[in-house]
Each structure stands twice: as structure tokens, then as C-alpha cells.
């Protein structure tokens, strides 16, 4: 990568509550000593598990009741609305439950390139005067504006330009109609009835249309095989054990069933009431017999056609892994791909897992991006930014490309978003963990950051220039040509920010050299440079404490009269690990 942007990741303190890493080989997974060591243990940003607990500050929330950082793993979600990202239509929750997680209108994605598809008519556009007033009729197709794919390629055309989802559900690729679950059910009932004649009225009150006659050996798709199987098992369960209906109907006591009724009667009459027929019938469930019951026998020649097609049409006729992943069923060929209905999205409110207070709540309206409540960590904990201390030298490509074994200084700027003065302690391990041990020294590990007061207030204070000048003293020295940061002193200080210097001696990335110079881990697994190993990452333990109004959070504006009470100060403390990616080590 040519460019490198420095970054700061924060570890949510909830990580401690997660199960500890352990391997089966360890003798004692959780011994007393290891849990004791925990506080001393430095956090290794390169450990594979670190990826799961580190977040950019923008992803974190802050619970004002627990006074703790909350990451996506320690919040509870609550869905506010479901909506289609394409048409921004708000979908009611009942529809989500019954219709699934896709947009049921006309929003589709191209199965080839996932660009949104548009509905257009096959008929040519009328030309000439007043053409825009004419409506275009005729069959419609879905078109991709990006790759020019059209649903005509898979032989699908629609009669109406709207409600594509419903229309598509009835057509197979190639244009044949799909036998819907409803028709299958009709057919099944028809078969079971056989003797009873006359038009039956459906449960919906709809006159029954002629059910399609189904072939007992047909090859079913997953959906219909499932529905056939379901019907089969349901009838088998009902048949096999009518008396023990209770077992299968969950909370439903099933008193409506004659079987259950006779069993209850049987309780008093010594079982003679239970009719013998049902007893004799109470046998095993049988297996599915044919396709109508969901049985699909593989014919030995069924796949010859696929191989043949592969051979003649080659690579380009097959769907790629990415395209396959988007499909709901397994598809091998491009011709079998179907337009993808847009996946719905949600707006979610977040609650703290411990105290259940709402941390973030968006407006329920789809179009607005505003939040009603949003307690982000950005407003509560100091943010960190990284800059190189020395200006870019002529031969240097990037300020963040550091030379191995050459001490390099970086400026960490902490910005305080709080309205209180904050004390910050930072600590780093002297050597970063991992195969390449970089030496790290923080020149000023303890400092105070001014409150995030009004900008006006500071402007007013500008009058007392003397103090300001005093504060900027260290900065002044630097500009006078003294490029030496002093240990124990803040480099630069502003209204609500402080810069400190951290000095890094990057390790050499070469694997050559005598063994005694290498770290223990390097000897153990040797080998080539892995991904991101050349990035200079420093784990930093940050402790922030400040004094806040105790009443501030709890009762907000209510404590109008009790001004004196709100004067009670409460000490707050936060401690967390951060990972600072300061630069990339140059490779020789």
C-alpha cells in the first residue's frame, strides 16, 4: 500500500467478560495465577482475537448510567423500522415475518453485477410529437443499466410494470409457470379426497380453481420439496399418534381432537372407550413414497446433462461464487440466476446490555437520518490523533514510513470532548508484543486536558495573554529550532487538547541475523512477513479520570432549585486499551 493513514482503535472494556483464549494443549485453562496476571498482561493488537474487540472511536457508544464505553457487542438491538433501501418503503413487521426479508415490490438487483434493475417495456419507445404522453404497453422486462443484462436473457417477461416480485414468483427461468405451494396443496387435497365430489370451498372462501395434476416423479425445487415434505410429515404425525396429539402440538392441549377426547373418556372407563381402530393404526410413521411426499430419487443420468453443458458452453456459462452467494438456491449456470430482490434494512435502537438504558435511537421515519437519542463515545472520551513530529524530509516519501532502528517521534494529540478538566494517564509496554519488538517511549505519560468550554469563553480569556503564552512555551521552543522533546513535559497544549510526544524505535523487519538478536516468538515460528506485520502498532493503555457533576446525568434540568446539590462532584474514571497505528516500517 502506498499510502498509510495513522489510526487509533479502541478496545471496549467488555472484552474481559468474554471467554478467555485457551487451547486444549494448556494444562490448566484458567489457573489462579493466570487470572491474577490479567491486569499486568499487555494487550497484543496482533493476536487474532484482537480484531474482534477493537473499534474505531466512531463505532462506540457511551452509557451515561454505567459510565462505560459500549461496543456493538455489549449493546442490545431493537428494531425501529424495516425498509427497502431501494424504494425507501417502510415495511410493516408483519410483512417481514410472513414475506421474508426481501422487498416485495419491484426492487431488484442484477444477478450478474448487483446493480439495481429497472423495469422497462420491450416495445420501442414511441417517437415524435406528444410521445411523452403516450404510455408504453406490452410485456415488460427488468434491465440492468450497468451491465446491460436483461431478464429476457433468462426468458422472463412481465405483463405489468408493477408488482414484479409477485409476478416473478410465478415464473421459472425460461417462462414456465411455477406450481405454487398453494396449487400443490390443492392437488394434495384432491388426491386425498378422491371419493368426495363437488366443488369445495377453500378456507379463504375462494372458489377452488382446478388444481394442477402433479407428476409423482417430478423433480422439485427446494421450496416445493420442503412444502411437500412438511405436508407429508404433518399428516403422518397426525395419523401415527392421534391419541398422543398433545406431544406434538406444543402448548395446545388439543381437546378439539376426537382422539384426545376419547383418551380423556378412557381415563374413567378403563380404556375401552378408545376405539380399537386408532389403536391398531397407531403404528410407525412411514417414509415418503414419491415426489408428492417430498421424496427425490437421484437418477444416475441426471447430472450428465450438466457435464455436457459445462463442456460445450465452458467457463463463461457458469455463475461465479459471488453470484451464487446472492442466490437463495444453488445455481450453477448463469441462465439459472434470478433477479435478486433487495434485502430489507433496519433502523435499530441500541440499549445498554447492563442497565437497559437507550444509547441510540433513530427517527422512525425512513427518510430522516436524525437521531432522537445518540450517546456516542466520541462525546465522552478523549479522541487521539497522530501526527509526525518532524517535518517531512526531502527524500522521504511519506511521513508515516519509518526507517527501522532509527528513533522516530510522533505527536499524539488528545482532544477532550467533556466540559470538565480531564486527567489522562497513558502507558505503553516498553516493547510492542509480537515478532518484531518495537521500542516505545512516551515522553509525557501524565497530563491534564482543559475542558471543552465554549469557544466564546476562550476568546474572552484571550485578554489574559500572559497565561496563554505560558502554556505555549514548549511550542515556542520547538519553533525556535530546538527539535528535542523534553521528557515529562507536554509538547503543546490548547483549549481542550494536549499533544505529547512518543518516541519509537522500529524493529528491523529482516529475518537475517544471529539468533540471539531475535525475539522468542520469531525463533519459534520464523517464516515470511505476514500481512500487516510491517505496520507499527502501539498498544496504549489509557486511563482517564475527571470530576463530574453528580447530579448532572441523573436529573438533568430538574435540579433547578437545588443548585447547591449539583455542586457535589463525583469522580469518574475510565480505563481502556487503545491501539495506535503510527506508521509502516520500511523494508530494506
Amino acid at each position: 500500500m502506498s499510502t498509510f493513514m495513522p489510526y487509533a482503535y479502541f478496545q471496549c472494556p467488555c472484552t474481559d467478560s468474554f471467554p478467555q483464549s485457551r487451547n486444549l494443549g494448556d494444562e490448566s485453562p484458567v489457573s489462579v495465577s493466570s487470572s491474577f496476571d490479567q491486569d499486568d498482561r499487555t494487550f497484543d493488537p496482533r493476536a487474532p482475537r484482537a480484531n474482534y474487540s477493537l473499534y474505531p472511536l466512531e463505532h462506540l457508544l457511551y452509557c451515561e448510567d454505567c459510565h462505560q464505553i459500549r461496543c456493538p457487542r455489549c449493546v442490545l438491538d431493537e428494531i425501529v423500522t424495516w425498509y427497502c433501501p431501494n424504494c425507501l418503503f417502510e415495511v410493516p413487521s408483519s410483512t417481514v415475518k410472513s414475506e421474508g426479508n426481501r422487498c416485495t415490490r419491484s426492487c431488484f438487483q442484477c444477478p450478474i453485477c448487483i446493480a439495481p434493475l429497472s423495469v422497462s417495456s420491450v416495445e420501442p419507445h414511441p417517437e415524435g410529437l406528444g410521445a411523452e404522453n403516450l404510455t408504453v404497453g406490452g410485456p415488460y422486462v427488468l434491465n440492468c443499466a450497468h451491465c446491460y443484462w436483461s431478464s429476457k436473457e433468462i426468458g422472463i417477461q412481465f405483463d405489468k410494470p408493477n408488482g414484479i416480485f409477485a409476478q416473478l414468483a410465478k415464473i421459472k427461468n425460461g417462462g414456465e409457470p411455477i406450481i405454487t405451494a398453494r396449487e400443490r396443496r390443492k392437488d394434495r387435497e384432491e388426491r386425498n379426497r378422491d371419493t368426495s365430489a363437488g366443488p369445495a370451498v377453500d378456507e379463504d372462501g375462494v372458489q377452488e380453481e382446478r388444481a394442477a395434476n402433479l407428476d409423482p416423479n417430478e423433480i422439485l425445487d427446494a421450496e416445493s420439496q420442503f412444502s411437500n415434505l412438511k405436508a407429508f410429515y404433518q399428516s403422518q404425525l397426525a395419523e401415527a399418534s392421534p391419541t398422543s396429539a398433545l406431544t406434538f402440538s406444543g402448548g395446545d392441549y388439543g381437546y378439539g381432537s376426537p382422539g384426545a377426547l376419547s383418551r380423556i373418556m378412557g381415563l374413567y372407563t378403563g380404556g375401552s372407550f378408545a376405539d380399537k381402530k386408532s389403536k391398531s393404526k397407531k403404528g410407525m410413521m412411514r417414509e415418503a413414497q414419491d415426489a408428492l411426499e417430498g421424496l427425490q430419487i437421484v437418477s444416475p443420468t441426471s447430472e450428465d446433462e450438466i457435464i455436457n453443458r459445462l463442456q460445450t458452453e465452458g467457463w463463461d456459462s457458469t455463475a461465479s461464487t459471488v453470484q451464487k452467494d446472492e442466490q437463495s438456491t444453488y445455481t450453477r449456470f448463469i441462465n439459472d440466476l434470478r433477479p435478486i430482490a433487495h434485502l430489507l434494512r433496519t433502523k435499530r435502537a441500541k440499549r445498554c446490555k447492563t442497565c437497559r438504558h437507550i444509547l441510540s435511537k433513530p427517527e422512525p421515519k425512513v427518510q430522516t437520518t436524525r437521531f432522537r437519542i445518540r450517546l456516542v463515545a466520541l462525546n465522552c472520551i478523549p479522541s487521539i490523533s497522530i501526527n509526525p513530529l518532524s517535518p517531512l524530509l526531502p527524500g522521504q516519501k511519506s511521513a508515516f514510513l519509518v526507517t527501522p532502528l532509527k528513533p522516530t517521534q510522533f505527536l499524539l494529540t488528545f482532544t477532550n470532548p467533556l466540559f470538565e478538566i480531564v486527567k489522562v494517564n497513558i502507558a505503553t509496554p516498553a516493547q510492542t508484543p509480537g515478532r518484531f519488538a518495537n521500542k516505545v517511549t512516551v515522553l509525557c505519560p501524565q497530563f491534564e486536558i482543559g475542558a471543552n468550554t465554549d469557544a466564546w469563553e476562550e476568546a474572552l480569556r484571550e485578554g489574559s495573554k500572559g497565561i496563554e503564552r505560558e502554556k505555549r512555551r514548549t511550542k515556542a521552543e520547538a519553533t525556535e529550532g530546538q527539535h528535542q522533546a523534553e521528557a515529562g513535559k507536554v509538547w503543546e497544549r490548547g483549549r481542550n487538547w494536549v499533544s505529547v510526544v512518543v518516541e519509537v524505535v522500529p524493529a528491523s523487519l529482516s529475518f537475517e541475523g544471529p539468533d540471539f538478536m531475535k525475539s522468542e516468538e520469531m525463533l519459534r515460528d520464523g517464516g515470511a512477513l505476514r500481512e500487516d506485520e510491517d505496520v507499527l502498532e502501539i498498544p496504549v493503555f489509557v486511563r482517564v479520570d475527571w470530576e463530574a457533576d453528580a447530579a448532572h446525568d441523573e436529573s438533568g434540568g430538574l435540579s433547578g432549585g437545588g443548585r447547591g446539590e449539583s455542586e457535589v462532584r463525583e469522580k469518574r474514571e475510565l480505563a481502556y486499551w487503545c491501539v495506535l497505528g503510527v506508521g509502516r516500517i520500511a523494508q530494506d
Binding site: S17, Y52, P56, F226, K230, E239, S257, I307, W315
Partner: protein, 565 residues
């Protein structure tokens, strides 16, 4: 996504209400069971929402969805891109995909795509938990679109999952998602159910291993496994591609060095893409001779090389071998490989069928597929074998390889025809078999002197006609009235919807799982709290009268991990 159509209010009804109101054969009037989950038996589908989330975990994918759906709504893989830090968007960088070599360094082939590997000594269980947690969140937030309200989970697992892994999985689910209960179901049994069967031989051609499990009457009777699975197939494909990309390195290097070199030539993703798109499986020699496959007729052996040529003639219709062009982008410079079509079937030959390796050279854990199934069947009792051989269910990623099912069945038929169901085999046995007839008569002649044989006893008892048993006959006839005859004794493959759909079906039908773990109890005791009775007595399950409801409500004192305990 359900494919039902029409206005939503009608759909709710059609989904929830029983599909058949008349269960034809029954003579007595009978109210069918309702598939309603509400505790109060309310027919309102909208209120009856305590949806059960079905989760299937494999070594590479997590499938999740709701009970009653035919297919999982979310299939999440454990690929390396899913394992990055939050807010790390480097995969959208220009030229990111070109740099895959740097990323795979120091890893085994395909290791970064796995959730766990079979050797648990190298597995960081905490990491497994993290991966599952992230995959579940992804599935819930983006595909299932549900919030973190507690829901019951049904977990589908391979039947031989090690206890530490199981414990990690349950820990993760219970602590991070707060389900009140988790039911455990075994994937092989569910594959049987979703094929509509009671008994089956489930051949799960997975990532790291192929597992052949025998399910008899919904119970796992036996399980054999082999390392010949999709991973090996991918590695073989990598070799084929590597040799084409750089023929020179293939000649210079040998063995593991060559494989290592190939790994840097073509990326894992692309290799897998090739496997899923164009790899295929040659038909067996017998099918190539165009002989109609009938029962168990023995077939002569033929050498392997001619087979590929012949297969092409049969299918291609042309004398010239067809070439397929594969555009490969992950090489240093993008290339289009021209590869003979028959070459694309070779990885399957070497990886799954171990062609060219004699049976005696193979280790126990690397038995080729057909042999694995054959041995699995042979160990079974005759009755179970005859039922199961007619119900071979292929599941798993490897089963999608075109031509594989037919090939395995053919190979199997050949084996059975050649060896019968005799565990003893080898050269000596063959010689013995040839001579057995003559020897038998010889022995009889030599020993015939003092022994007096009555005319009745001339044929051994096993070869005698069975006396007709009128009672047995009557019973059979009676049974046939209710149950149609059971297909048995010939080889037959059956398609299954897969374990996930089976789990969805079962929990939709409210069939209770043997192992239902309560959250409180798990958090209190962990895996140690489970009672060790693996075999749950049938009587206790059938006697689930009204008392069962109390038990179902979580007041059970003892619980079990079932198969996994």
C-alpha cells in the same frame, strides 16, 4: 424468502394453517394438528410469534433462518474478510485483490477460511467463539432482520463434534444472545428427515472430511470418516492449475515444495471458484461402456487411462478433446488457461477416489469415497444394510460436483458385485473362492466314509427352502395393507434438502429434541451439569402427557447433551 404470492394477509393464513385439512386415509373424523406455536393455541399467526431460530454450524459456514422456512435466510462464511477489525475498509482499496499473497503468508492453504480445524490442539477456542459471535450478529442484523430479543435456538451440529468445541459454541450463544433454550440436533439425522426417510446412509462430503453415517430409524447407528473431502479436492485442483500456470516450477520442484510454490501462484478463492464452477466427476468405467446399470452385475476391471478418452467421446460427440478456457486473475499477470475438459475431472479422481493408488497403500483415514461407503455398509447388520443401501443421501459441498453421485453408486455396485458382502478379501481369498467348489466336493469325498448322511441333510440348512410360515405370512399381509412395501436391497441415491431444512422442518412440526439446554442451567453448570445418559429411553419420550408441559417449561432437573455428551 418465501415464494408465496398474493396479498400478505392471505399469505399468513396459507403459511401457518395446515396444508391439508383432510388426511384422507383416516376414516374417523379427526381434527388435524395445528402447527401453531402459541402457548394458548390461538390461531392468530401474527401473535404466535415466538420464532425459533435454526442455526447450522459447519467448519466453514454458518446457516441461519427461521423454523418453517425451506432454506436458510443467511449463509455466512468465515472467510478472512469477515474477520477484519470493524471499520477496516481496506478490501475496497484499489489493487487490494492483487495483494493476496501477502495476506495468505504463514497460513496453511484455506486455513483462514475455517472456523475450526479437526485438530483442536491448534485451535484457539476463544477465537472460535469470537468468529461465531460475529457471524451470528451479521446474520441477525443483515439477513434475518431480528433484534436481540431472546429467542429459542435450534442448533444443528455434526454428530461427532468434540465437547470443547460444543462447550465454546454454547457458551458464546448463551452469553451473547440470551436464548432461553438451545436444542441440539444432529446434522446427519436431519439430512435423513429432510429426504423424507426414516433410515439412510448419509454421505456428507464436507470440507475437511467426508463422514458416512448410517441412520436407522432416525438413530445414528454407525459413523465412518475419511479425509478425502473438498479441501483435498481443492488442493488437487490447485496442482492442476499450478502446473498449467507455470509448467517449469512444476518440473523443478517436487512434493511439498511444489505445492507450496503453487499456493503462491493461484489464490485460494480463485481455485475454489474453479472447483465449484467447472470441476466435474468422470463416470465409472462401467457406465462408459454404456452398459445399462442393473442391480449388482459384476464388471471387469479396466485401466484408468482409457476411461477419460472414452468419456469424452460419449459426451462430447467430437473426436477432438474439448478445451475450456479459464480466465485466472490472481496470477502475477492475468492469464487465460486453456485446459482440456477431461483434466478438470482429474482432481476429483485423485482426491476423492484415489485412482491409481492400490487399496493396500491407503491409510485408514484416507479411504476413497466408494470404499468408505462400502465398508460402512459391510459393517452393518444385513437388515439395516439392505434398507440403507437403497437410501444413500449425499449432502455437503462436495455432493454438488456433477456426476459424483452416479459415479459413487456405480463404483459401489462394482465393488459389491466383485466382493459381495464378504469382509475377507485379497489374492488368497480369490484363489480360494475359485477353488472352493472343487475343494468342497473333495473334502466331502474324503470325509464321506464313516459319516452317514441322510438324504434330507444333503443341502446345508442355510441353503434349504424356508418352510412357509402361515402366521408370518398373515402378519405381513396385514402390515402391507397399512404400509406400502419398503424399498430395500438395491443401490439408490436420494436427494435431501440438507440438514438445515430438516431442522427447520422438525422445529416447525414441534418435534422436541432429545437435548434441550436451558440457559440458566448451562450458565450455572456448564457442560458438566449434563447427565451422561446418551440413550434416552423411548418410553420416557412417549409418555409425554400433560406432564411434559411442565418439563418443557424448563423445570427439568436433569438435562443431557445427547449425542455430544
Amino acid at each position: 424468502m418465501s415464494a408465496t404470492t398474493g396479498p400478505s394477509h392471505r399469505n399468513v393464513v396459507s403459511i401457518r394453517s395446515p396444508p391439508s385439512t383432510n388426511t384422507g386415509v383416516l376414516t374417523s373424523p379427526h381434527t388435524p394438528l395445528r402447527g401453531i406455536s402459541s402457548a394458548f393455541g390461538s390461531p392468530s399467526a401474527l401473535r404466535a410469534e415466538e420464532d425459533n431460530v435454526i442455526i447450522e454450524l459447519g467448519s466453514r459456514y454458518l446457516r441461519a433462518g427461521f423454523a418453517g422456512d425451506s432454506l436458510p435466510k443467511a449463509v455466512v462464511d468465515f472467510g478472512p474478510e469477515a474477520q477484519r477489525r470493524a471499520g477496516d475498509y481496506r478490501r475496497w482499496n484499489v489493487g487490494y485483490s492483487k495483494e493476496w499473497r501477502k495476506r495468505t503468508r504463514g497460513n496453511d492453504w484455506g486455513e483462514r477460511h475455517e472456523l475450526w480445524e479437526p485438530d483442536l490442539r491448534n485451535v484457539d477456542l476463544g477465537l472460535v467463539g469470537d468468529k461465531i459471535d460475529r457471524a451470528m450478529r451479521d446474520a441477525f442484523a443483515n439477513h434475518l432482520l431480528i433484534d436481540s430479543r431472546p429467542r429459542r435456538f435450534t442448533l444443528i451440529l455434526p454428530s461427532a463434534l468434540p465437547l470443547p468445541l460444543l462447550s465454546t459454541i454454547l457458551d458464546t450463544l448463551f452469553t451473547n444472545f440470551q436464548p432461553p433454550t438451545i436444542s441440539l440436533l444432529s446434522s446427519s439425522a436431519l439430512s435423513t428427515i429432510s429426504a423424507g426417510l426414516r433410515s439412510a446412509l448419509v454421505v456428507d462430503i464436507g470440507w475437511r472430511e467426508t463422514v458416512v453415517s448410517t441412520i436407522y430409524e432416525y438413530r445414528e447407528v454407525q459413523c465412518t470418516r475419511s479425509t478425502r473431502a473438498t479441501k483435498l479436492l481443492g488442493e488437487e485442483m490447485l496442482k492442476v492449475l499450478g502446473q498449467l500456470v507455470s509448467p517449469r516450477s512444476a518440473q523443478d520442484l517436487q512434493g511439498p515444495e511444489a505445492t507450496a510454490a503453487f499456493r503462491d501462484l493461484v489464490s485460494f478463492e480463485e481455485c475454489e471458484d474453479v472447483v465449484t464452477r467447472v470441476a466435474w466427476c468422470k463416470p465409472s468405467e462401467r457406465a462408459q461402456k454404456n452398459a445399462p446399470s442393473q442391480g449388482l452385475t459384476p464388471v471387469k476391471e479396466e485401466d484408468e487411462f482409457r476411461s477419460s478418452m472414452r468419456s469424452l467421446k460419449i459426451w462430447g460427440g467430437t473426436e477432438v478433446e474439448a478445451h475450456v478456457s479459464l480466465p485466472i486473475k490472481s496470477t502475477k499477470a492475468p492469464k487465460t488457461l486453456q485446459i482440456p475438459f477431461s483434466k478438470l475431472a482429474e482432481p476429483c479422481e485423485t482426491a476423492l477416489f484415489a485412482t491409481g493408488v492400490s487399496e493396500s497403500d491407503l491409510d485408514d483415514e484416507e479411504t476413497p469415497l466408494h470404499l468408505l461407503i462400502y465398508r460402512g455398509l459391510m459393517k452393518l447388520p444385513t437388515d439395516v444394510r439392505s434398507i440403507c443401501m437403497a437410501r444413500i443421501v449425499f449432502v455437503g459441498g462436495g455432493a454438488k460436483l456433477p456426476g459424483l453421485k452416479a459415479r459413487v453408486l456405480d463404483e459401489l455396485a462394482t465393488l459389491v458385485g466383485k466382493r459381495g458382502w464378504d469382509p475377507v478379501q485379497g489374492k488368497a481369498m480369490e484363489v480360494f473362492r475359485e477353488n472352493s467348489n472343487s475343494r468342497k466336493t473333495r473334502i466331502r469325498n474324503s470325509e464321506g466314509g464313516p459319516l452317514k448322511i441322510s438324504p434330507d441333510q444333503r443341502t446345508p440348512a442355510s441353503l434349504q427352502e424356508i418352510d412357509p410360515d402361515p402366521i408370518e405370512e398373515g402378519l405381513r399381509r396385514e402390515a402391507r395393507k397399512h404400509n406400502p412395501p419398503v424399498e430395500a436391497g438395491n443401490l439408490r441415491a436420494i436427494d435431501s434438502l440438507g440438514a438445515w431444512s430438516g431442522g427447520s422442518l422438525l422445529s416447525h412440526l414441534k418435534v422436541p429434541a432429545v437435548s434441550v439446554i436451558d440457559r440458566e442451567q448451562w450458565l450455572q453448570h456448564g457442560a458438566l451439569g449434563a447427565s451422561k445418559t446418551v440413550e434416552v429411553s423411548v418410553s420416557s419420550r412417549q409418555s409425554m402427557g400433560p406432564g411434559a408441559f411442565k418439563a418443557g417449561a424448563g423445570e427439568r432437573s436433569s438435562w443431557t447433551l445427547g449425542l455430544w455428551g
